[in-house]
Amino acid sequence: MDALIHQIFSGLANGCIYGSIALALVMIYQATHHLNFAQGEMATFSTFIAWALVQRGMPYWAAFAITVAVSFVAGVVIQRIILRPVEKAPVLTNVCVFIGLLLIFNALSGWIFDHTVKAFASPFSQNSVLKTAYFSAHEFGSFLVMLGVLLALFVFFKFTPIGLAMRAAAQNPDSARLVGIRVSWMLAVGWGLAAGIGAVAGMMVAPVVFLDPNMMAGILLYGFAAALLGGVDNPWGAVIGGLIVGVLENLLGAYVIGTELKLTVALVLIVGTLTLMPSGLFGKHVVTRV
C-alpha cells in the first residue's frame, strides 16, 4: 500500500511538470491556434543556460531567475522575428517553422553544451524539511514551484491589465484590436511566458532525467497528451490533465507494462483522446461554420 501511495505521489510530482509543459502549449495554442512543437527543445536550451550559470558558480536561485528572464526575452524575440511573418500562413508552413525551430534548438544545445549527459543539481537538498514520507525533497519542491508558477499566472491573467489584454487578444483578436490592444505584441508576450514556464519545467525535470539535448522529447509528448486530455483551450484542464497523465504513467509503469513502453502509453493516450473525446475533459466543443 505504501508503495502504491508513493507511486501516486511521485506521479503527481511528474504530473506537475507535464502539466506546466501542457500549460505552455495551451498558452500558445489559445493565442495563435498553433501547437508549438519546439516547446520542449526551447525548455532544454533554457535548462542548459541555467546549468552553465550554476557551473560558473552562481547561486541556484539567481541562475533560476536569470534563466527565466532570458527565456522570456528569447520567447518574445522568436515570436517577433521568426513567427510573425508566418502568423497568417497555412498550418503546414507553421508546423514546418516549428520543426525548424526544434531542430535548431536541439542542434544548438548539442553544439554549445556538448552531447554528454550531465547531472543537474536539485535546489532542494535531500535532508531538508521538504522531505516527507511519500515525497522526496525534490518532488515536493518542484511541486511547490509549479504551484507557485500556476498561482502567479492566475494572478497575472486575472488581476493585471496586460493579463486582461492578453485574454482579450486571444478570445477575439479583431475586437481587441478595435479597442486599442496591440494583439500581435500580446502574442509575443504569450510566447515569452510560455518560454519562461518551459524553462521552469526544464529546470525542475532535469535533476530527475539528467540533462542532455534530447531530454525533453518524451516529456513534450506527455505535455501534448496532458494538454489534449485536459482540453487544449483550457489552462486549468492542462494542469489537471498533466496530473492525471503523471499518475497514470507511474501506475502503468510500475504495475502493468513496465517502463519500456512509456512513450507508447503517450501515443495511446493522444490517439485515444483525440478519437474518443476530441475536446478533452474540460475543453470547449468547437463548432465550425461551413
Binding site: L35, V86, N106, A107, H115
Partner: protein, 352 residues
Amino acid sequence: MIAADRKSRLVWIGLALLLVAAVVLPFLVKNYRVFQFNLVLVYAIAILGLNILTGFNGQFSLGHGAFYAIGAYSAAVLMDRLGMPYWATLPLAGVVCFVFGFLMGFPALRLGSHYLAVATLALALAVPQLLKYKHLEHYTGGVQGIVLVKPEPPFTFRFLDQPLNADRWLYFFTLAVTIVMFVLAWNLLRGRVGRALIAIRDHPIAAAAMGINLPMFKSLTFGVSAAFTGVAGALGAVVIAFVSPDSFTVALSIFLLVGLVVGGLASIPGAFLGAIFIQFVPNIADEMSKSAPAAIYGVLLITLMYLMPTGVMGMVRRLWARWQPGAARPPVNARPGASVPVPPDLTKESTT
C-alpha cells in the same frame, strides 16, 4: 497542340537521358558512392510516399519514419527468420505498412491538421521503443537489431573496368523498384484518384459534395502512402543489410519531411531532389560539427518557408511558366502570389 507535343517529347527525351545516366552512374564512381546513390533512391521512394499524403492529400505526418521502420523490420524479419529472398519481402512489407497506415488513417480522419501532426509525432517516438520491447525481442532482435546478408548479384560482368558487385547489383535492383514505384504513383495521381485527393486537400466539403467518399479516400491515402514508405524501408534494410531501433528515431521522420519540403510539395520529381538533399547535405555538414546537419536543416526549413514555400520544383515550375509567355496558365500552386499548395480551409482555421 504542337507546343504541348514538343514539350512532352522534350520530357521523354529528358527522362531517357536521365535513365541512361542513372544506369552508367554506378560504374563511374567508387563502391561507397554507389551505396549512397542507393540510399538516395530509397529516400526518394519514402519521400514520394509522404508526398502522396501531405502534398497531394493535405494530411500531415511527422511520423513517416515509423512506417519506414515497420517496412524495414518486416523485410528483415522475413529474410532473417523465415529465410525469404530479399526481393519477395518488398511487396509483403508494402502490404504490412498499408495495413498499419490504414489503421493510423482511421483516427486521423477525426483529427485536424495540428492534431494529426501530434499523433504521428507520437507514433514516430513510440515505434523505436516498441521495437526494443522485450516481448517482441524474439522477432526484432531487441536493441541489437538484425544483421542481414547482402544479396550477391545473380550474374556478373565488367563494364568500364568496374565489376558488377553486390552494391552495384543492389543499385540496379533499387533503381528498378524506384521506377516501378514512381510509375505507380504517377499513374495513381494523374487520373480520377489523383484529382479526388487534390479536391479533398483543397476543399473537403466541396469534395464530399461532389460524391467523393471522404473517409475512405483519406484512410486509403494514408495506407498507400505508408505502403510506399514501407517499401522504401524494406529496400533500405536490404541495402544497408542491418536494422536496429536506433536507426529509426524521430529524426528520420523529420528528415523525410525536410526532404519533402525541399523537393517541393505535390511534385513527383521533387522527391528525387529532396532525397539527394537529405542524403548528401548532412555528409557535407558533418565535417563542420556533429550538430551541424540538424542546425542546417532547421535554418533551411524556416528559410524555405519564407522564400520558396513550394520547394525547388515549385520554383522550377514558376520559372518555366515565366520563360514561356505563350504557355498555358501555370498550375494554381505555382502562381507567384500563392504561398503554399495546401488547402485554403487550413488557412481559415488558423484565423478563427
